[in-house]
Subunit: 120 residues, 4 copies
């Protein structure tokens, strides 16, 4: 793995991007949470009218993958920017949440059945 | 940095979580994009009625930080699961997008002014 | 039709609801748009892991219909409150948009095929 | 009020729009809920980087009002289409929900204070 290719480095690069443009003023937690949500809608739009099977095929089309990658990237960018602004370690939080989900949803109880309430 | 604390390792852990529970059947790209969007709404709800200043204060409250961390974690979890299912490198995509934004929004042109259209 | 059962009357009732509680201060256009989006996520959550067919069955279950109705109601409530606050006639706007869609998507051109870009 | 300008008539017009184009196949409850959510994101995008005050000013600009009206219309269109497909009376549901909120949030208890959890 390229050592520079980490969430921490992405956070630093986004800090500089915002600072250079004097955009820190717009990057308060509320606006960044809004931005994550807007970008999530744009990702979802790619699959809007597709059946689940068609969506899986679509996600494999070479012609569509860069668009798809870009929409996912936008979400990560704002999410990492938000975690940096509020000073929360995103990967640590995710690992704590996965551990919580593992204990909340024991294999023997939930195997194969969709839970009514999603784990998150 | 803890070597185990990477997006790649999170992806592997989520693979196992889903496989153990026979939940891969639910994790098609469309459902995972939906899930990212739902979780983004839950994050946004934390700030719903707060002014931007109040939201910044809220994000600093020790009593609220775990809740905030958890909502951000949920977004990352589904986003990483989605990128893993479709086989896209999330951090690479984010770095490509940042580079694109850097060239799209030259400092001398946009400094200090909100762009009408957000960069992403 | 019950004459009181109109969007206009709903708007008036929501005005009074907010005024009585001194909540108008929170009902600026940005917060109301956020609220519409949060509620849309809650609606979507009802269908999160269901196949399209299962979602249709779910929507017919007597036990689920009030929950479903309530989530749709929440969206309408914030949307009507927003249109009232900004002074836009929601139904007029919708009818103009439908007319626009009718001319943008002529039957003979689009029949049976999903448009890449959704009409709205 | 123009008698034709009702949610019921909008629903009928949307039925015909979909039937004429053979698009009913795409209009299952899950896809329509997704569409409401996507459109809510597009509305929110109009206010993304604005302060609450700027958002209120923006919503009053003659040059922006048609764009704003269109985004709100898109949400209503998919919401009404969804309620029609699942056979739920949207205005009735909204009025029931308002009545519920009125009893849940008695004036004397909540006046002037934002509730932690939004009413909906």
């Amino acid at each position: 793995m390229d050592q520079s290719n980490t969430i921490e480095n992405l956070a630093v690069r986004l800090q500089r991007f915002a600072a250079d443009r004097d955009w820190e003023q717009f990057h308060n937690p509320k606006n960044l949470a809004i931005s994550v949500s807007i970008e999530a809608g744009e990702l979802l739009e790619l699959f809007q009218w597709l059946t689940p099977d068609q969506a899986a095929v679509y996600a494999d089309l070479p012609s569509q993958r860069e668009r798809l990658a870009e929409e996912m990237a936008d979400i990560l960018i704002y999410l990492v920017r938000l975690t940096d602004v509020v000073g929360i370690e995103l990967l640590d939080a995710a690992l704590r949440k996965v551990a919580l989900n593992e204990s909340r949803y024991p294999v023997e109880k939930v195997k194969g059945s969709a839970v009514k309430r999603d784990p998150n």
